[in-house]
Amino acid sequence: MTTTFSLVRKMQFGFGFALALLFLVGIISYRSLTASATSELWVTHTHQVIEHLQTLLAAMENIETDYRGYALTGDESFLASYRIGISDAGREEETLRGMTADNPIQQPRFPILESLLKQKVAYADEVIRLRKNVGLAATANQVQKGDGKQLMDEYRSIIHDMEAEENRLLKERAQSTDVPMRRTKMALIFGSFLGLLTAVMGAWIIQRDAASQRESSEFLNLTHDAIVVRNLKSEILFWNPAAEKLYGWQRAEVLGKTTHALLQTVFPKPLKEIEMELFAEGYWEGELIHQRRDGTALTVSSRWALRKDATGKPIAILQSDRDITLRKRDDHKFRALLEAAPDAMIIVNSAGLIELVNAQMEQFFGYSREEVLGKSIDMLVPERFRGKHEQHRQGFLQSPRNREMGAGLELYGLHKDGSEFPVEISLSPIETLDGVLISSAIRDVTQRKRNDEKLRDSEERFRLLVSDVRDYAILMLDPTGHVISWNTGAQRIKQYSSQEIIGQHFSCFYPPEDIQAGKPERKLEIAIAQGRCEDEGWRLRRDGTRFWANVVITALHDGAGTLRGFGKVTRDITERKQAEERLEQRTKELALSNSGLIEANKELESFSYSVSHDLRAPLRGIDGFSHALLEDYSARLDDNAKDYLHRIRAATQRMGILIDDLLNLSRVNRGAMHTQNLDISAMAHAVAGDLRKAQPERQLELCIEDGIHAVADPNLIRIVLENLLSNAWKFTSKRPTAHVQFGRAQFNGTCAYFVRDDGAGFDPNYADRLFGAFQRLHSTTEFPGTGVGLATVQRIVRRHRGRIWAESALNQGATFYFTLAETPS
């Protein structure tokens, strides 16, 4: 549209310029021609003047010639010519005077000429009179006087002057004719050239504009906005490629279709109203919802422009649609983001009026958004800050950039109820079409302030707590190891006052040899690498004395992981150290005595070995040779001697048994245990079987519970069963019939095995003596035995971490219980 308009303007301008030029050339030519014609007339005039001057001079010369001829000849015919000459001269003079009336230079000459003529005529008349009246001689005399010649020369000179004047004029006038002629030529040449140029340029511009107009319609095809031109009946006349792309229909498919039906347009207000606005204003702008060919909906920003014909009658509507679905979505997102922000968001325009707020703002300030929108931000600022706030706001508008508001200052928000609350505000400028907006994110820091105070309180309490601790030196070191805090305990243990020590390097607590070995630095390195470093060693007090310290150094980092320093807790454990040393000493002594015991044990073992070998050998000798005496010398020995020998043999044999029992007892204490899962019932059967074979005559009822298993050493358990069962056999031997039982019983959840008999039993008052070695509750004559068996049994049960006990009453039988630790219950 603009291009077309400008084209018309250009054409008007171009043609106007060309016309004006022609007009100008015409005027110039006309004026030049007129001027030149006038000049021509003057030139002719001058030529005439010159002609008349020459005629005058000729008439004068005729007069001269005629009177002289008459004077010479006396011929009267000269006189006639002479009269004609005079009248000619007079007439010419008169003519010339009229012709040069405009020339002030020529005019004064005419009286002179007139006078000279008169003198001349008077002279000539004199001459003629003399000739006629006096004769030739007098005349010749008169002529010779030469007055006539003098007059004639004078006259001729004046005519020459006049001629010269006229020639000058002629020259001048010829020149003045020339200038306009040249100007006309110039104007013609220049004007033609300019006209031609204008025409060429006009043609070029028109052509270019036509091309650019073609391009403009190409641009319509190129634009990303969908452009639809429709007539007043909404039938589509034009549909650009962007419309094809946006809506999905090709141009050929939609031409002639009704726009709104095709796109299923949803209008923001009734179409009637929109059209009324369009016809009134010539354009309309708004958001429409359209449907694409594939049925998806999109929101467009639509601009309608009305096209009118020359008479101003509307003929078509140009609609340009831009897809803003994404932007709407972004808007939506922006809104959601705004609402989701943890801070109250307030967007204020450059005039300080609130344009946009979020839900957090409502919550923080107690106003609903309707109450604040369009109002001044001042309503949320405590009154005492308002003046300053306005200044700062203007300052921000001068140099808008993201920053904290009032860095380092305490800021407050004003709640609807008039209360104030501490806030932190960050500002950022938003450039919009309507100018700069200020977006402020406001954080209610009431809770944090409260927390800060709590933290300060707690830190203070902690500091007091630490400073009063007496038993621990608690101090802080900076990252390079210099003391920065000191408590009562530190003063007590290390004897420095805080004034003396703060700022000192902590290596002063270490003995010189540790410092030389670089120990303090190494401790810090370990604490950095591993978080903490625990150490025990000698440390120095202020007076140089040493104490044994337990030291824990902890590296302290801030939230960003930067090393802030170290916490160091030192305890004086000199006493504990001394106690430990005493304990160590004691342990060494014990180890020593233990090794003595081990030694003694070894000796005991070799002693047992010797006993087993060497103690028995003599017994064999005594028994063997007693036997030999009885056998070989029976005839020579009386009964008394034989009785003694029998007693000797019985005693040596008892001694042999005693030695064997003792060896057994010592053996069960020595040697490794080889435990395995054991069928105790089966073992009891086997042992009882041996006993039955040894005394087949005994009437004895045996009851063994089957399926009793235990994890135990088979050799040792066999010794237990042999002892207990043989005891049962032995102590029931005085009964005609006996009952012996082996089984299991539960005691407090523990499984105990038992061997029960109904024999002699024992006096429960002596039950504690049952299991001592060589302890017997019955006489050997009553029941033989060495008193070692139950002691051996007890040793074995104890080696199995079990317990053995017995229940009985005299003559009511006895029950022996034992447990084994490794017995699965």
Binding site: Y609, S612, H613, D614, R616, A617, P618, L619, R620, G621, D623, G624, F625, H627, A628, R649, T652, Q653, M655, G656, D660, L663, R667, G671
Partner: protein
Amino acid sequence: MGKVLLLVEDNPDDEALTVRALKKNNIVNEVVVARDGLEGWEYLTGTGKYTGRDASLLPQMMLLDLKLPKLDGLGLLRLVRDAEHTKLLPVVILTSSNEEQDRINGYSLGANSYVRKPVDFEQFVDAARQLGLYWLVLNEPPPRRK
């Protein structure tokens, strides 16, 4: 020629009782007594005190006490089993010891039997009877070597 029994025993009482017990059982083999392990070895190898004895003539069996002066019973047993010409000799350990370790060591070194000398002489006689019956009558000795 009678079969020789080598008795390695330092205690003369035990020697006398052993010989008596054997006699009681009518075992009439010649009994050669060595007082210690070394003497036993000299007999078997025809060296020292027994220089000139034909070492290829091995005894029928060797009754070996463990507790001996100079070379003890187990030491002698080790030599016997290590030497080519004696390694098949029947060896019965006859000792007072009832120590488990002695029995294990004895059998480990290749003893053929382990008999404990009882204190009761009658039991000893019985043991000697069974030994003699088994080793001197029933048992077939390994073939003699050249």
